[in-house]
Amino acid sequence: MHSFGYRANALLTFSITILALMCAMASLSDNFNSPTPSAQVQVLNINWFQKQPNGNDEVSMTLNISADLQSLFTWNTKQVFVFLAAEYETPKNSLNQISLWDGIIPSKEHAKFWIHTSNKYRFIDQGSNLRGKEYNLTMHWHVMPKTGKMSADKIVMPGYRLPVEYR
């Protein structure tokens, strides 16, 4: 009954149960956090805007991104992945969602930032629909926990418009 194997088994089971319980509680405690993040994006310049030889429009722009994501961080947050996506509708596609810039925020100290950058990924349309196109810039974030449930949310910033002529 009280052999070595029996005790080792009991100890192992107990410690794994406690560990699982602690992980679950850490994950559940995230629900008590109600974040209030903010973000602003300015399109400072359209660097160039042209039609590729294959007929697709491509645009390069300079962006000024500032955000305060400090309230997303809890004690169970490993990192926050943040990215800015351009979203628009064309006659061909009901949704075009293109990531323009992304970054990894490792800690709360780095969660209030501003960055001056040109788009990291290419902004190319499937077709030639970008002249004068109205689009949304959406700031998405993805909270990666130390353990447990992952969560994501976004701020949609509507009302951006591309130039009417290529340049």
Partner: protein, 217 residues
């Protein structure tokens, strides 16, 4: 204060017991002597045999119960998550520092459309190793609502087109096996070590089986 009466009760108990036991032991041998010695040996042998057989069956049933309940839990997870493999282990560093080698991801396959930012597990046609990466671009067709998806690992310098089949530019819905919703660090190392050193797996399974079979009630 409370323990005192309990102690005095225990001291009394063995005395009365030993007296009654002595009386019993004197009376019992008489009827057994009436039987032949051969019959007595066969009787004991039979009873010992039946006990061992019963215990052996008991152990096998316990073992079967453990295996089947593990299977039931796994199948239930498949039903709830809607994925063929609801739990995956990360083996490559392409999503560092979010997910490292040995971390476990829980997948879910919902009806919600896939959007940029989602972490998806996909399987390229003709390749058997599923990949966990983030969606960075989505094109959804106007009338068919077919989605064309491009992925990239957070830690990779470029997108995944180089990993797709030659000529393949997009992932489509049938490539996607699930979406990562939960995360558990380090636990997957057990699986990684056991796949790297297969002998260890057999030793572990053998030892566990032996433990269950030789376990005393």
């Amino acid at each position: 204060m409370v323990t005192q009466p309990y102690l005095s009760f225990e001291l009394q108990e063995p005395n009365t017991f030993s007296v009654s036991k002595k009386k019993e032991s004197r009376t019992i041998p008489n009827p057994t002597n009436a039987h032949t010695t051969m019959g007595w040996v066969a009787d004991t042998l039979h009873s010992v045999n039946s006990i061992q057989l019963r215990e052996l069956f008991n152990h096998f049933i316990t073992l079967g119960l453990i295996v089947t309940s593990a299977l039931v839990i796994w199948k239930a997870l498949i039903c709830v998550s809607g994925c063929q493999s609801p739990v995956v282990v990360v083996i490559s560093p392409s999503m560092e520092p979010g997910f490292g080698r040995g971390d476990i991801l829980f997948l879910h396959m919902s009806k919600d459309p896939i959007r940029a930012g989602d972490i998806v597990v996909y399987n390229i046609d003709g390749k058997d190793i599923p990949i966990v990466h983030r969606v960075i671009e989505v094109r959804e067709r106007q009338n068919t609502e077919e989605a064309y998806i491009l992925t990239k690992g957070d830690n990779n310098p470029s997108d995944d087109r180089v990993m797709y089949n030659p000529g393949q530019k997009w992932l489509q819905e049938h490539h996607i096996m699930g979406r990562a919703v939960g995360f558990l660090p380090y636990v997957g190392w057990v699986t990684i070590i056991m796949t790297d050193i297969p002998v260890l797996k057999y030793i572990l399974i053998g030892a566990l089986g032996l433990l269950v079979l030789t376990m005393k009630e």
